[in-house]
Structure formats: C-alpha cells, structure tokens
C-alpha cells in the first residue's frame, strides 16, 4: 500500500491538531473545515461518482440536525458524550428518508434531478417552520449545552467530525473499489448504455444517494449538538449546499481526495473571513465569483487536472521526442 503511510500521517496530524493549537477560534475553524470535508465527500458520492448534481443536500443536513435535536427532546438523555452515540441512528434515519426522494428524483435525468433536489431545500424549510409540534417552528429547538471544559470545549465535536471524515473517506474508498463504484462511473458516462449491459442502475443510484445523505445527516447531527440551538433558516441553508458543490468541483469530482482538498482550501478561508470581518453577505459574492471561476478555468478540478498533466509528462518522457514526431 503505497498511499497508506501518507494517509495515516494525515489522519494522525488531524488527530494531534487540538493539542498543537489551543486557540478556540482556530479550533472552531478546524471543526468547520472537517465538517465541510465530510459534507463534500458525501456529496461527491452522488454528484461526483454518479454525475447527478444534487442541489438539495442541505435539506438532509437539516434533517440530521433536527433528528438529533428531536431525539433529545423526547429521550432527554443527559448531555456529555451520549449525543454522539445516536449519530449512527440519525444517519440511518436520514438515509431511509432519502430513499423515496431519490427514487422519484432519479427516475429522471440530471436536469430534472437538479430541479427536484433544489425544491427539497424549500420543502425542508417549509416543514421545519410549519410542523411546529415537532420542530417548534421559527422559535427553533434547543439542545442541552454539554458540560465540557470551556478551554477544550470544541475537542469532542472535533473528534466526532474527524471520525465522520475517516468514515466518509473509507466508505468512498470502498465504493470506488466495489462494483457499485464501477456501476456509478458507468452511469455518469452513459446511463442508457449502462442499462443496456445489465447494470442495475436504479439500485446503484439509490445506494449512492442513501450513503451520501446518511453521512450528510450525521454531520448535521454533530453540528446541531455543537451549536445546541437550531433554527430552520440555518439548519436548511442553501449556502451549505453551495459550499459542498463548490468544494467538490474545486478539488475534483469523482476523486477520493478532491472534496477534502476543496474543503481544506475553501472552508478555512471562509471561516477566517467571517471571523475577521464578519461580512457574511460577502460570502455570497465570493462563492459566486469562485464558482464561476472554477467552472470556466478549472472545470475538472485541481486533482484530475494535475493528474492528467503528470501522466502526460510521464508519457512524453517514456516515449521520447523522436516517436512523438511520427504522430500524424
């Protein structure tokens, strides 16, 4: 395993980070960076591997956040680390909720899929506002503030996000190595042809979507517990979707590390600017500009472009200049 050592080093560095850096504001930035790395990796399973650009993932993020909060309202299990223990259940619940949506949305092709998913944002917000009996509507929902020591308050959330990131990456890696990954790549390239060679495209797409929104929901659960108070407009925030999409496109769609790279570039920058200048309305312009820039200049993303360049250079070195001349 040529890549095992650097990957282990990367994870070890992330695990050591809270001990190297103690300033709470830096920890907050690191926490949100990990969260976006999780979200981008999750989005990549559908938007990258299968080529179905979901614009509604924030709805599932919000669903996870509400699931976590509602669990606590009804079961009131103290605070401390217990809330992290229900995350797998939150993930399963969100994945299950995603299945019927995906089943309807993915009967069509990517245009209509994008439309259905973007309307999901609005559906989720409307539900969060109006199902007052469950979500308390615009008042928002509170969760118990955990009794972690103030100096290291972020640590448990940080490690929860790190665990989610490792899980998301392992899952993405496993999907790429599996027949599901092969099927998704085939769907992205030519779905009709894939059906014509017996690929169970429906199941493959549903599987990818369920995995993707399940991870997204779990990240939402950790986020809700960290903030300990959630409102509809923040739990289902279109900006979250946009951030996921942008990070994946910047780093490289359909690659394992591209989403992580994109998140590690964009999320700290965005958090830092917010922390320093607090100019949240500038986010939008910044996102929009960066988005257009990536689409126009680097539509395949950083990693695939670099890989391609590297491969060509190696090919040229292998073949030598005299053979290259013979090419018509």
């Amino acid at each position: 395993m040529r890549t095992a050592a650097p990957v282990a080093g990367f994870v070890a560095l992330l695990a050591a980070f809270p001990f190297l850096v103690t300033a709470p504001w830096l920890m907050t930035i690191a926490l949100f960076t990990l969260m976006y790395a999780v979200l981008a990796s999750a989005w990549n399973l559908v938007g990258g591997y299968a080529g179905y650009p979901s614009l509604g993932h924030a709805a599932f993020f919000g669903l996870g956040a509400y699931a976590e909060a509602i669990w606590f309202q009804h079961h009131g299990i103290g605070s401390g680390l217990a809330p992290f223990a229900v995350l797998p259940l939150v993930g399963l619940a969100v994945a299950a909720a995603g299945l019927p949506v995906a089943w309807i949305a993915m009967r069509t092709r990517s245009d209509v899929f994008a439309i259905v998913t973007i309307t999901l944002l609005f559906v989720a917000q409307t539900l969060a506002y109006n199902l007052r009996g469950i979500t308390h509507g615009a008042q928002g929902m509170a969760m118990p503030v955990p009794d972690f020591a103030p100096a290291t308050f972020e640590r448990p959330f940080y490690y929860a996000m790190l665990a989610l990131l490792v899980f998301a990456l392992l899952l993405s890696w496993a999907v790429l190595r599996s027949r599901l990954g092969l099927a998704l790549l085939a769907v992205r390239a030519d779905e009709d042809k894939a059906r014509g060679v017996g690929v169970p495209v429906g199941t493959a797409k549903l599987g990818a979507f369920a995995l993707s929104v399940g991870i997204t929901g779990m990240a939402g659960g950790v986020w809700a517990y960290y903030l300990s108070f959630i409102y509809p407009q923040f739990a289902v925030d279109p900006l979250v979707t946009i951030a996921m999409v942008l990070m994946v496109f910047l780093g490289g769609r359909g690659t394992l590390w591209g989403p992580v790279l994109g998140a590690f570039v964009i999320a700290p920058a965005q958090q830092y600017l917010a922390y320093q200048y607090g100019a949240s309305q500038l986010y939008l312009l910044g996102y929009a500009a960066l988005f257009v820039l990536v689409m126009l200049v680097l539509p395949r993303g950083v990693l695939p472009t670099l890989a391609d360049r590297w491969r060509r250079r190696r090919l040229r070195a292998d073949v030598g200049p005299e053979v290259a001349v013979e090419q018509p």
Binding site: T108, D111, V245, P299
Partner: protein, 292 residues
C-alpha cells in the same frame, strides 16, 4: 362554494403571473437546453429595481417595466455570452446548470449588499384596491398583473411565431445542428434567447413586488415554484408552461383557502412529485414538445 370560486379566481390571476415568470424559464430552456436556476433571482432583481424607481422617482411600477426590461435583457445576454458560451465541453450541460446557480447567488449577494435583507413590497396607491364583481373580490393589481402577463406572453408568442429571430429560435430548439448548418448562429440566438428570458423577468418582477413581499433571499422559494411549473409543463413547451402555471395557481389558492395558507406553497411540490411519479417527462412533455 363562494369561498372556492373566490379561490379559483385568485388562483387564475396568480397563475397568470407565474406563467409570465415561467415562460422566460421555458424559453431559455428551449434555446439553451439549460435549466436557468437564476430565473428567480432575476425576478427578485427586477422587483428591487422597480421598487427603487418607484420610491426614488415616483414612477408607477407598471411603467418601470419598459425601463427595467432592457437592462435585464442586457444582463441576461451578457451572462450567456460571457459565462455560458465558453463552456463547450462534454459535460457542459451540468456545468451550465451550476453556473446559472452561481449567477443567482451573485445577484442575491449584490442585492443583500445594496438593499440589506429586510422584506419590502412595492406599494402604489392602488395596491390594496379591488373591484367586487357579483360578490367576488378581484384585486386591481392582480388583475392588471395578469393582463400584463397575458400581453407579454402574447408578444412573446408573436415574436417566436412571426419574426426571423423567432424562426431561428424555433429551429434551434428543434435541431441545433441543422439550424447551424442553415446559417443560424447558435451562440447569438442563445444570447438573445437568454436575454429575452431575462427581460420577461423584468415584467414579472414589477408585478411580483406589488403582490408579494420579498427580500434578496426570496429567489430560492420562487425558483422552486417556477421549476415545479416548468417540469409540470414538460420542459421546453410554452403552451404547457402556461397551462401548468394556471393549474398550480389554482391548486395552491384552493389549498390556501380551504386547508391552510401555510400549506399552499407546499402544494407545488406535492404536485411536482406526483407528476414525476406518474409521468417523469411532465404532464405535457410528450404531446407539446416542439410546440414552442
């Protein structure tokens, strides 16, 4: 019964406005084969421009349309020419979709910077006046809005049916390759088409601002509704879009009147999902495609 008929009247009037907004969307899809996620933001932008002209210069909101429409036409054409045209790649359709999304964000960002995020409405003196016909209330603004929508739709239909540009558009919609061979310049038609779609948003924006309150954020729920209508109408069919818009206007007004206003917006998505469940190509997709 009285309540139901009142709701249907209201729904038809609202549906006319939706038809106007969605027809721009349909036109753009027809010409570019791109779902324009910025259409809602363009409508909100137009609403703000119209509101500013009304507040600062006292120009009647309906009269701001001829001022705002050319501006949005230029903006739309510029978006196509500068941002969408360069995306000639194998996955251009997916990238274009996301670029229009980025345009929506950019517009939202500019509006937030300039106007902050408070809600506002355009309130001319006649905003709340209404006529009563046979016991049914008809809001003046809504009726005028519906008539304006019909007028713009009619003009659009004439433009597409009777002019050289319209023929070029229709040719591009039906067969882009053949149209190019016949000397239709695809890029120019696309830019004009996007511009025209954006210009219809100008008319829609003025009207929208008088009927609803809005803030820079409003484009998300607006685009969700527009997209539901466009899918229901079968992507790219102008006739289907108008019928779908009227139908959705009536359904949501009925739900609002008979069940609860809270769920009236929701009816859009229930109908959208139901339609996709039964006919993934939309209600009018098969029959009316190419009718544009």
């Amino acid at each position: 019964m009285h309540e139901t008929i009142q709701a249907i009247i209201l729904g038809l009037l609202t549906g006319g406005v939706y038809a106007l907004m969605a027809s721009g969307q349909t036109l753009i899809f027809g010409v570019l084969k791109v779902v324009n996620l910025a259409q809602g933001a363009l409508v909100i932008l137009a609403a703000y421009l119209s509101s500013s002209l009304f507040v600062s210069f006292g120009i009647d909101p309906f009269l701001t349309v001829p001022i705002v429409a050319p501006a949005l036409f230029l903006l739309g054409a510029a978006v196509q020419w500068c941002l969408l045209r360069p995306l000639h790649r194998s996955d251009a359709s997916q990238l274009s979709l996301l670029v229009t999304f980025a345009v929506a964000l950019g517009i939202e960002g500019v509006l937030t910077l300039v106007y902050k995020s408070d809600y506002r409405t355009i309130q001319p003196s006649y905003a709340n006046r209404s006529w009563t016909v046979a016991g049914y209330r008809i809001g003046e603004v809504r009726l005028a809005a519906c008539l304006l929508s019909l007028a713009v739709l009619g003009a659009l239909a004439l433009l597409l049916g009777r002019t050289r540009f319209g023929r070029a558009v229709r040719a591009t919609v039906q067969n882009p390759t053949a149209a190019r061979l016949l000397g239709v310049e695809g890029d120019r038609v696309a830019a004009l088409g996007y511009g025209l779609g954006a210009a219809t948003a100008a008319a829609a924006g003025a009207v929208y601002g008088m009927v609803y309150s809005f803030n820079p954020n409003s484009h998300y729920d607006l685009i969700s509704r527009l997209l539901s209508i466009v899918v229901l109408g079968g992507l790219g069919s102008l006739g289907g879009t108008v019928v779908a818009a009227l139908a959705m206007g009536v359904v949501s007004a009925l739900v609002g009147a008979l069940i609860s206003p809270v769920w009236s917006d929701f009816s859009f998505f229930v109908v959208l999902l139901a339609v996709l469940l039964v006919r993934p190509q939309g209600l009018f997709g098969a029959r009316l495609r190419g009718a544009l």
